[in-house]
Assembly symmetry: C2
Homo-oligomer: 330 residues x 2
């Protein structure tokens, strides 16, 4: 069967609340800069109360990637749970108006739509504090089998390993995609997330994952090594294809046979790094579905990441397709 | 009685939804660029559906001004109606975390918290489409008499003339402030708003308004003249003190005896003009409560306006007090 969707993303459906803080704000609360922390509703309320004015903008790691794929001209679909509330409406509006098929109906009971309170320090680094809300309601029932079979790649976020039912949904989707001869891609999401679920991730990666995305901290955590080079060597043994991102130091793409080291795209001023990895994945996966070689995929990923860090928010502000064409990458 | 609040703002409590559009989007819908249009819930839904991804950020004209006054180190309070819903929570968080006293309890029934869909064209101009929602519930009952008496200036937005009950609240507040020997300030808000309520505004201005804020279109509409100079001459006759803003052309401040022509503060790149007039008012009123001369007040207003148009959203991103101190204006 011919695929009708380039990439189906399955992930947490989250509205980001962005607020600028000084480093001391993190230190006083023992929050590790650059991490993603799960918080409950009360913690979300307390943290929000301690912050200055914010900006609300749709987020969610894989959702950001799928919006980016759509902006590049690819066909994207997304499965994720929001509630039938105002923030749920915002999430739905933003992803569908970006051209993404988002068929999952909202819940009409239970916790509110998820939000991630993202603290932006003066260096542009972001620290996430996520109340999963309605995301915990994502389960196997939301996985549309035909949609999974129709997608060239099913792309999953490691964060789905946190809510129990979402993990089941994740496994169901992985099995359907593998049986249909489709590719499965996974983002490790966060080094602390890897800490929580290392063994499961290792099993999954060696059996079912065709394309792994990880940043430097995540891949070191996965293999419990202290140097990037050690992690990279382990990934070459273990992964069919691993895409390792290193912020301003660029990316390294490894398979058993190939290693590519690709530069980051320099920009004048980093405003907000939220979504850099998500948009790198958007570019890489779009190139991959078009049959481009791995180094070209990485260059497209780097270009998309450079767009997203030049402004507030993790969804593209311009046509990534036009940007890529201007830069001779599409 | 000594005043304990510098400026009490009474206005619509609105969350802005910002989205970038081409000029053709406005033309196809017959929307006049730069205007504020009132829309109902269905129109808001249809317009939102036609838009690309957005950003949500607290707004409301006078609310923006009061947040700016607080950022300048002044004591600000705000009266306005939100519903007890997610966007209402966002509005309350943003204004209280900016240091503003916002005592008005939310409604727990009736229309949702107001939103203004702001269409930003490539020239940085903004066109507002406002669903007033819970704002129509603002009435005389919400006017805390002691709070009005405690404020050196009560600042009102012309937009309050649109919902019938808000107009009554506006009149009640004006009467209390005048009786207490306090100053009343009014922003004309929008030239179409002036068209709708010209006679009432003219009556109010010649009787009760101590400080009038208007841009070029608004003051020309008020006096139904075609040149700025004619409008300015009329304002000198009619107003105790009129602050007339002219975007990049600066501002003109007039009383019966004085005329000051003050330059705009130039910035490299205008990102979003939303809130320029609101923040000009914040600077001017703060200077006024400190006893500064009118030209100095206007210079402080121009500086605050320059900060707000350098980024998305109509609330300050930096300490305006620190910015004003750096520029020798505080």
């Amino acid at each position: 069967m011919e695929s009708t969707v380039d990439v189906l993303g399955i992930g947490n459906a989250i509205v980001d609340v962005l607020s600028n803080v000084e480093d001391s704000f993190l230190e006083e609360r023992g929050i590790v800069k650059g991490s993603m922390n799960l918080i409950d509703e009360n913690q979300a309320r307390d943290l929000y109360a301690a912050l200055g004015p914010g900006i609300e903008v749709s987020g969610g790691s894989v959702a950001n990637s799928i919006a980016g794929i759509s902006s590049l001209g690819g066909t994207g679909a997304f499965i994720g749970m929001v509630k039938d509330d105002q923030l749920g409406d915002v999430f739905r509006h933003d992803i569908t108006s970006a051209g993404v098929n988002f068929p999952t109906p909202p819940s009409n009971a239970g916790p509110e739509t998820a939000r991630s309170i993202i603290l932006i320090t003066p260096d542009g680094e972001r620290t996430m504090n996520t109340f999963l809300g309605a995301c915990v309601l994502l389960g196997p029932d939301q996985i549309d089998e035909d949609l999974v079979r129709s997608a060239s790649i099913t792309y999953l976020e490691g964060f789905l390993w946190d809510p129990e039912e979402a993990k089941k949904a994740f496994k169901k989707a992985t099995a359907i995609a593998s049986d249909a001869g489709r590719d499965v891609s996974l983002s490790l999401s966060d080094s602390f997330c890897v800490d929580r679920h290392r063994d499961s991730f290792r099993d999954l990666i060696s059996s079912d994952v065709d394309i792994l995305f990880a940043n430097e901290d995540e891949i070191k955590s996965l293999y419990q090594v202290s140097s990037f080079d050690d992690a990279m060597q382990a990934a070459r043994q273990d992964c069919k294809l691993a895409v390792l991102t290193r912020s301003a130091a660029g990316s390294v793409i490894v398979t058993a046979d190939e290693v590519h080291v690709v530069e980051a795209v320099k920009i004048d001023s980093v405003v907000d790094t939220t979504g850099a990895g998500d948009l790198f994945a958007a570019g890489f996966l779009t190139g991959y579905t078009m049959g481009k070689d791995n180094a070209s995929c990485a260059r497209l990923g780097a270009l998309c990441a450079s767009e997203i860090i030049s402004h507030i928010g993790a969804r593209p502000r311009t046509s990534l397709k036009a940007l890529a064409e201007e830069n001779g990458l599409l």
